[in-house]
């Protein structure tokens, strides 16, 4: 694993980063209430756009739509802003209001038909959009008893995961126009910070310092199959996965890479940043970005030797 470049620009902690679906752009957001759009130019990654003025508090997450045309930003100010990609820049086109306090997670469904948002108000809002780009509140889901930290749509089905401060993970499914909670995964002993679909299985990371893998079994429910502990010494904030690897980042300033199926540790990058690493996102099998409280974003190259 090799650090290719350190991106400076944000004034304050960087909360999240997201690669555009085609991998040509990287969006980042932070406590400076700005979104930076980075592009790989001949002399390295450069800022090509600074999105400002739409949020009045820290921006916690940014997520590109599946099509790559839209970017959604979730903020502590309780709103979500949808930005549209235009030639040369991004334009704010819509503000989604409704959550009672900080919005902490965002996820687009497979066809971008639904956008899910979650908040400290303990609810998940499902927004539905149609061809004329109107956003309607499709559903408001209340099940968690505490703050919801992150949500994640399945890549091909209308299945949604939610991770909460209440130590549980909920799985939601769209069934005849209703979003039903089909299962709740218990097992973590503290806040679940991030969850991802790994094909039809689930990976979660938590403040309890573990990574958990939940497998879909014959009874059509997910069961805890594996718990990895003792790797991170502080809250694990982020997890991402690809065909071959899983990567985590935590408050111990480390990034760890695991083999996808065996969960063997492939690499531990100590002091990847000077402070907590809030997010780590894989671009493809070769590139990765990380965002930290130290105000920096790092671009990493993953070497082939990792995969053997």
């Amino acid at each position: 694993m090799e650090k290719l470049q350190t991106l400076s620009g944000h004034d304050g902690r960087v909360w999240h980063i997201d690669w555009s679906p085609s991998g040509d752009l990287l969006a980042s957001c932070g406590s400076d209430k700005k979104i930076y759009i980075w592009k790989l130019e001949h002399n390295g990654w450069q800022v090509v756009d600074r999105l400002d003025g739409s949020h009045t508090k820290s921006i916690r997450k940014v997520k590109w739509s599946r099509s790559g045309v839209l970017l959604a930003s979730a903020s502590f100010d309780g709103t979500v802003v949808i930005w549209k990609r235009t030639p040369g820049s991004m334009e704010a086109c819509l503000t989604l209001e409704g959550h009672e306090n900080e919005v902490k997670g965002l996820s687009w469904s497979i066809d971008d038909k639904y956008l899910a948002t979650c908040s400290r108000d303990k609810t998940i809002w499902i927004w539905e959009t149609d061809i004329d780009f109107e956003y309607d509140t499709h559903a408001v889901l209340s099940k968690h008893t505490q703050d919801i930290k992150e949500i994640s749509f399945h890549s091909t089905q209308y299945l949604l995961l939610s991770a909460s401060y209440d130590n549980t993970i909920a799985i939601w499914s769209l069934q005849s126009d209703d979003w039903i909670c089909i299962n709740t995964l218990l097992g973590h002993e503290s806040t679940v910070w991030d969850i991802k679909w790994l094909n039809n299985n689930i990976i979660s990371v938590s403040d309890d310092l573990t990574l958990k893998y939940w497998q879909l079994e014959d009874d059509n429910k997910h069961h805890l199959k594996k718990t990895i502990s003792g790797i991170h010494s502080r809250s694990i904030y982020s997890v991402d996965c690809s065909e071959n690897i899983i990567v985590t980042s935590a408050g111990d300033d480390k990034i760890v890479i695991y083999q996808n199926d065996t969960f063997n540790i492939l690499h531990i990058e100590e002091n990847a940043h000077n402070n907590d690493i809030n997010a780590v996102r894989l671009c493809n099998e070769n590139f990765m970005a990380s965002a930290s409280d130290d105000g920096k974003i790092c671009i990493w190259k993953l070497s082939l030797s990792l995969y053997h």
Binding site: R13, N101, K104, D147, T191, D207, S233, S235
Partner: protein, 147 residues
């Protein structure tokens, strides 16, 4: 209507000491937080024995700072606020690479577990620090102007 209408106030003995240059020690940390004012009573956390030098632990290997504080009564509803004030003041004094843990002294509050979780949830703390009304209260009590 105060939670604790009769707090116990201790007299402060002025301590003079010389900090060895270099590493931070618990005295340095204590100096930062001792004069934070209690939100309910016109006394400092030191006077109310909410914080003390012995409840500060520094682990230089892991760059961790663990501070335990004792609420004046076990049902004190302002405990999370006091914890937040301690954290905010420390964050401003210390280099950001130091990981701060704020915990309630074991067995001294009915909701110890819940409040500890909240005080050490980075995201919750960050959002609280963007809450204007809340920060007004915090700033007032951690400010040095009333020395």
């Amino acid at each position: 209507m105060l939670d604790n209408p009769n707090p116990i106030v201790t007299e402060i003995v002025e301590m003079t000491y010389k900090r060895p240059t270099g590493m931070l020690d618990s005295n340095d940390i204590f100096n930062v937080i001792r004069n934070i004012r209690d939100p309910e009573h016109p006394y400092t956390l030191e006077q109310l024995k909410v914080v003390s030098c012995s409840q500060i632990l520094i682990d230089t290997d892991t760059k961790a700072l663990i501070i335990r504080f004792t609420p004046t009564v076990p049902h004190c509803s302002l405990t999370s606020l006091i914890g937040l004030m301690i954290r905010v003041k420390l964050m401003r004094y210390l280099p950001s690479c130091i990981k701060i843990h704020i915990l309630i002294q074991e067995g001294t509050h009915y909701q110890e577990k819940e409040i500890n979780k909240q005080l050490n949830d980075k995201e919750r703390v960050a959002a609280a620090m963007e809450n204007i009304h809340l920060m007004e209260v915090v700033e007032y009590n951690i400010g040095e102007w009333m020395q």
